[in-house]
Symmetry: none
Subunit: 196 residues, 4 copies
DNA sequence: TATGAATGAGGGTTCATTCAT
DNA sequence: TATGAATGAACCCTCATTCAT
């Protein structure tokens, strides 16, 4: 397994840094090789081509990201708590790694459709986690039972994603994690004044 | 005003088609010229450079898009109705122009940071419309008065954007406009069971 | 004859200015047309192509230049006086028209071999004037009778040309005409200490 | 040092040939690469850009040219002998390399002002050699002591340059080196009949 | 495994010239 | 004569990928 060789992760880490610093389009393979401390040709012993590096970056980094969220939400008691944890973890992980935030929110989106399809594959387990929380909430009688689950999932993911992207575009100048409760409240309660 | 010359819009329309068909990065100026039925050099009588074509595509197309929404929401009675109209119009307009949907949701996002900043400028009036609806709703006593408006705007825009993107990525196979009421309900009521 | 029409000289003058200000390679036909106050297409009613403009610039301007020298040297008494006059006139005319100096010494030399052949044709009458002065000097017993006339002509023209070019390259900061006597002395007496 | 790599000189030599054969403006990088037997991209491993190729051509070729002259004039006894040697070497070197003669006398002059400034830098050591010979001649009592040295240098260089250019323009049909003594005599004695 | 020199395809842009009015 | 919008050929340079060592 190539992933166990030290140079594999070395190149992945270099790629994240290079992309974060230079932007997607100015991230030449030779720059990544230099930052990783290997020869250009060595890259191709570990990755099929440039796109493969980028997909792998997303695989590795989002894999950890999702694992963290899955782990953190597994022992919470109800769906509401789990949802808040998911939001908080989503924000916290990206807030704690600025390079990764820039790369996932801005740079990797500049890839072509084909690459984004592969990236979406990586995201699927995350979306499943969201779906499960919704289902649990319905079962627990906390969430309405007429929810269109894919739609809810899109709302949740879209909201989180847009919030992080705005924060990155504003140069990460404010506290992202601090917004978790508000975002959670919005998602669970909506805009409307509560009916008594 | 160049915009009144027929070739200007001819090139814009050709650009939308070429980008939708070939993807952002495979959209050579020469392809756009050919599709528009003009010589390569003619492009540069109407646009400063390639980026200018792309920004102009967005300007023109999103300009109309936003104008439609502003117009449609201007005579509604309350914020709730306006919000539903906004959602419906957002979906309807993109659903009725598949090329435009592909270009705005997938292709133009592949541009670099600088170009995306310009694109965001164009979007600002739309975000203002959303903000105003929220404020009206609060004033009317329909929406909660403790709402963090930028956050709410991000939720609304993020939800709509993610929903459209998913629909485009799924090859636009289902009815997008039909989801408007559900999306509206989600945004106004949230996930939770109503307290009595 | 096109040369008698006012626009012909208008374009020539515009060309000199544009070339002097922008340099040979940045002198587009459209710039010359604009400066001359005519449409691009009008240029082609008076000149066959761009090269024809440039050759004509040289024709007209050097024609006057040479006429002046021919006229000024025609009534001098001996070859020595004529040579001094030629040198002085050569320097004076270029010193009094900075645009022309830049154009003849720097910019027009950037043209290709073919154009430079045509330019050399224009220069021929000037070289004949030099030859004649040398022959007169020999006949008058002022100049040595073993002179290789083409070589002497090259020395004279080369010296004048190099002197003017240096002056132009040094941004015309010193007095060129004041060097005439020294240059004349050098050409007639050479470097050596006079034998008694 | 790139200059030690064989491809560097290979490309320089190819550039001289291509420029001599096609002229400055028709010398595409791809033509030079083809003649040098390398890929287009390889050029850019050794040169920053096209202009850098041209400056380097001049550097290398004129560098050798000047070195030869410096070396040959270093062991002569008096300034007169040195001057004759300089003239002879100047002519001999260009006469023995027709391509180089065309490139230096005709083609490289078609470059823009900026490039010509760089070329002039390369020539400076040659002009210093001329200056030194003049000064020596004055010190030795062979040359007049009232000489304006920059002017003399311009005369000498202008004469040699014009002579070579004429020879190149006449398709190098006559013996250039054979003219050295005559040119030397002209420069040292001038046109005038010697006063006894 | 590792290297890094070499490859060569690909595209945005300029500008001299034309021609319908 | 005069216009100026339209044309389209031409070229430098980058960079992902290969392969001899």
């Amino acid at each position: 397994m190539k992933k166990n060789k030290p140079k594999y992760m070395q190149i992945i880490e270099a790629a994240v840094e290079v992309i974060a610093e230079n932007g997607y389009h100015a991230s030449q393979v030779s720059k990544i090789a230099k930052k990783a401390g290997v020869a250009d040709g060595t890259i191709y012993l570990y990755f099929k081509n440039k796109e493969d590096i980028l997909v792998s970056v997303f695989n590795e980094k989002m894999g950890q990201f999702i694992d963290q969220i899955v782990y953190s939400t597994s022992d919470r008691q109800d769906a509401n708590e789990k949802l808040l944890t998911l939001i908080t973890m989503h924000f916290r992980q990206l807030a704690s790694d600025h390079h990764l935030a820039v790369v996932t929110q801005l740079e990797l989106r500049q890839s072509n459709k084909q690459l984004r399809m592969k990236i979406n594959e990586v995201l699927k387990p995350y979306l499943v986690v969201i779906d499960n929380i919704i289902r649990e909430g319905i079962k627990e009688g906390i969430f309405r039972d007429d929810l269109n689950i894919p739609l809810v999932r899109q709302m949740i993911f879209g909201t989180l994603d847009e919030t992080v992207t705005n924060w990155v575009m504003k140069d990460q100048k404010y506290d992202l994690v601090g917004q978790s409760p508000d975002v959670h409240a919005l998602i669970t309660n909506g805009l409307s004044v509560k009916k008594r």
